[in-house]
């Protein structure tokens, strides 16, 4: 092992120890590791914020659930409190012919800004639009995704997610 390699290994070893030492830290979302809403409650809240966005959009639409699930927040090696998960729900907006597709994004943007939500993503890849916001009060996020298909059709999705929570509201015993 040469000196540079040794230095690299020392750096990462130090980093590793730092994170092992960091295991008992408080939850970065603001609460302590010992309490949170449950995953079911978080999932319900995600659906609520999506439905609020639906209500803000021009009338006549329905939502079709496309993806629903939870995922562990932490990698096995991330050193943070283990076992937390987040809820995620994705819905496709089903709209009738003649519905004002162009108004969807500015309408929800204004609705979210009025509520003090912070923009965390605002991109236009190709002809698509991706906008996401976060409620700074509770860490819940919601976004709208608009895809302009080659066929001329426009697909719209609402994407909601929760901050990290304990599945059953508290760390496993």
């Amino acid at each position: 092992m040469n000196f540079t390699s040794l230095r690299r290994r020392l750096v990462i070893a130090t980093t590793a120890l730092l994170f092992v030492a960091g295991c008992d830290r408080d939850d970065p979302t603001g609460g302590t590791v010992s309490d949170s809403m449950t995953l079911d409650q978080a999932s319900t809240r995600v659906e609520e914020i999506v439905r609020e966005a639906q209500a803000a959009l021009p009338p006549g639409i329905e939502l079709t659930s496309r993806f629903e699930g939870s995922m562990p927040c932490d990698d096995p090696d991330d050193g943070g409190p283990k076992g937390r998960v987040f809820a995620e729900r994705q819905y496709q907006v089903v709209y009738p012919a003649g519905w004002p597709v162009d108004q969807a994004l500015p309408t929800v943007r204004q609705y979210w800004e009025q509520r003090g939500y912070k923009v965390i993503k605002d991109h236009q890849p190709g002809g698509d639009r991706l906008l996401s916001v976060e409620n700074p009060a509770d860490g819940f996020r919601i976004g709208i995704e608009i895809y302009a298909r080659d066929s001329g059709r426009t697909d719209i999705f609402l994407v909601g997610s929760s901050p990290c929570v304990w599945e059953h509201g508290s760390p496993p015993a």
Binding site: T4, R8, I12, F19, G22, P28, R66, F157
Partner: protein, 558 residues
């Protein structure tokens, strides 16, 4: 299918095929459970009944069990075929509906029977060209539907029981290509087998077939489900043994009888405590593996999501698992996800969830295409960050990953799929070792997420079959990811930072992630969450991964 009409495609009901697929899957499971239930009955016979008649009864029961074992394979094969049929019918129906909608927009009326006519306003040169294009698309769609119908019919016919049961033809175990064989050779061997022989090798040698690159994914899936079930039962039995031994030692200790347990030991109590520690360690390892097996089983049996395939499985040591969301042999795009440090069988749930999200994101990005996302825990990942400073794990996994990718090419049906290999954290180092050998890694694109280095100084050091690696090696590392600290400047623990400009590949954007330090509190400890946030909803990294996986390079946000 002769006489398949456009109207039949337009009004097809994929849910009916899905329901049938679930029913055949349930039947396969019931058959397997019954076969398992016969095992203790056969074993118990000699305890209560001896003699020639008893021997004949044992042999008869054993042959019944084997027959049930053999019936499991075709029942699951029919379930697979119907599930695929449902997915394809749904895609064809969407294509037919899109055709009708686009026709309307171009002044071409497409009738339910597929006949077309130009509206008066479109009776010009442009309208005629549009009509010709739509006719071609309709004909291609009907051909694809007929092809699908034939394939499903063949799969069902080949796997349907006859009056003499489910036929299977014996194949010598020694004739199965050994592990590590060239996948093309394996595929040629597989193609040389009759359907009856294939059923036999899956049912009789699942441990050999399940992890053999070059065997079609649908066959590996059935073989691995058999192994998964057997290993589950063996681990449950082992846990019961461990718990019984622990309870026995504790009872002897409580009764002050440790010396009876270890008559030759100088310190019987110390020896007992030492054995209890070992038993506990093994029990926790067994519980971890069972947790992983449960997670895999839950996903395999979840019919609310795209069908999952168990492409590899082994519960020895830390365990290995390869789970594919969707069948890569039929997909247009295939992404192989290599997880990083700390991944093993006990933690497999989160890694499968990531594969689910990548398959979903790709389908959202390219709804007309089929994307399979494979969670490839086909190597022994380092257990912790200190172990992750060593290259040994990556070197050991490199050949297996290379052969796996070759196997995907060998078994893919139709034109070649767009194949992408994506690594997270130490998984990128495995990819680096796979792509820096003498032969190119069989992939069109590489995606390196949160990499600690890939063992080479620049993108040009990575060889992929997809061509120019400076254009097709993609990397991202969040601004707040702790991995940025795993080295000095851009010289990380395993080499140059692939997400640095000096590496010479393509760099794409991901969210900054949770800050490493909260400066409002000087005593706060570091928060490494950003290292795990790439698959969070609304993280732009997910959109970018979907764009690369589906080949929409122009949509990648940098």
């Amino acid at each position: 299918m002769a006489g398949l009409t456009f109207e039949a495609v337009l009004t097809a009901d994929p849910a009916a095929f899905r329901t049938a697929a679930t029913a055949w899957g349930d039947l396969a499971k019931a058959i397997d459970d019954q076969a398992d239930a016969l095992i203790p009955n056969v074993k118990r016979i000699p305890d209560v009944w001896q003699g020639d008649a008893a021997t004949r009864a044992s042999a008869h029961l054993e042959s019944l069990r084997k027959e049930l074992d053999l019936a499991y394979v075709p029942a699951l094969a029919i379930s697979q075929a119907l599930s695929r049929h449902a997915d394809e019918v749904e895609a064809l129906r969407a294509q037919a509906q899109s055709l009708v909608a686009r026709g309307r927009g171009s002044g071409v009326t497409i009738n339910p029977d597929g006949s077309m006519e130009l509206e008066p306003s479109a009776r010009n040169e442009w309208g005629a060209r549009a009509l010709s294009s739509f006719v071609h698309e309709r004909d291609e769609l009907l051909k694809a539907a007929a092809r699908l119908d034939d394939e499903t019919t063949r799969a069902i016919t080949e796997n349907t029981a006859t009056g003499s049961g489910v036929p299977a033809a014996r194949v010598d175990r020694a004739s199965v290509p050994p592990a590590g064989s060239d996948p093309k050779t394996v595929k040629a061997w597989w193609d040389s087998l009759s359907p009856e022989q294939r059923r036999f090798v899956i049912a009789e040698y699942p441990d050999l077939i399940g992890n053999l690159d070059g065997v079609p994914v649908s066959a590996r899936d059935i073989a691995n489900r058999i192994v998964l079930d057997r290993d589950h039962d063996a681990l449950v039995a082992r846990r019961a043994e461990l718990e019984a031994r622990e309870a026995y030692i504790r009872r002897m200790l409580d009764e002050g009888r440790a010396a009876e347990l270890y008559p030759n030991a100088d310190n019987p109590v110390g020896t007992a405590i030492s054995e209890l520690d070992k038993l506990k360690e093994e029990r926790e390892a067994v519980n971890g593996k069972l947790r992983g097996i449960d997670a895999i089983n839950n996903r395999l049996n979840d019919d609310t999501k795209p069908r999952a395939f168990l492409v590899g499985f082994n519960s020895a040591d830390d365990g290995r698992a390869i789970v594919s969301v969707g069948n890569p042999d039929h997909a247009d795009n295939v992404v192989t996800y290599v997880p990083g440090t700390g991944s093993d069988l006990s933690t497999v749930r989160g890694d499968i969830e990531r594969a689910d999200r990548m398959a979903y994101d790709a389908a959202k990005k390219a709804p007309g295409e089929e994307t399979a996302a494979i969670m490839w825990l086909g190597y022994d990942a380092p257990d912790d960050l200190l172990a992750a400073t060593r290259g040994r794990y990556a070197e050991d996994g490199a050949d297996d990953l290379r052969r796996f990718q070759d196997g995907l090419r060998a078994t893919h049906e139709g034109g070649p799929s767009h194949n992408v290999v994506l690594g997270h954290s130490y998984g990128t180092t495995v990819i680096g070792h796979s792509a820096s050998g003498n032969t190119a890694l069989n992939a069109d694109d590489l995606i390196l997420v949160a990499s600690p280095g890939v063992g080479v100084a620049g993108a040009e050091g990575l060889k992929i079959t997809g061509g120019d690696s400076t254009q097709h090696v993609w990397a991202t590392t969040a601004k707040n990811d702790v991995i940025q600290s795993a080295g000095l400047d851009d010289n990380l623990v395993h080499g140059e930072n692939p997400a640095g400009r000096g590496f010479g590949g393509q760099v794409f954007k991901s969210d900054d992630g949770t800050p490493l330090w909260d400066w409002r509190d000087p005593f706060n400890k570091p928060n490494p969450s950003a290292h795990s946030e790439y698959w969070d909803p609304n993280n732009v990294a997910r959109d970018n991964i979907a764009s690369i996986v589906t080949g929409n390079y122009g949509d990648v946000i940098r």
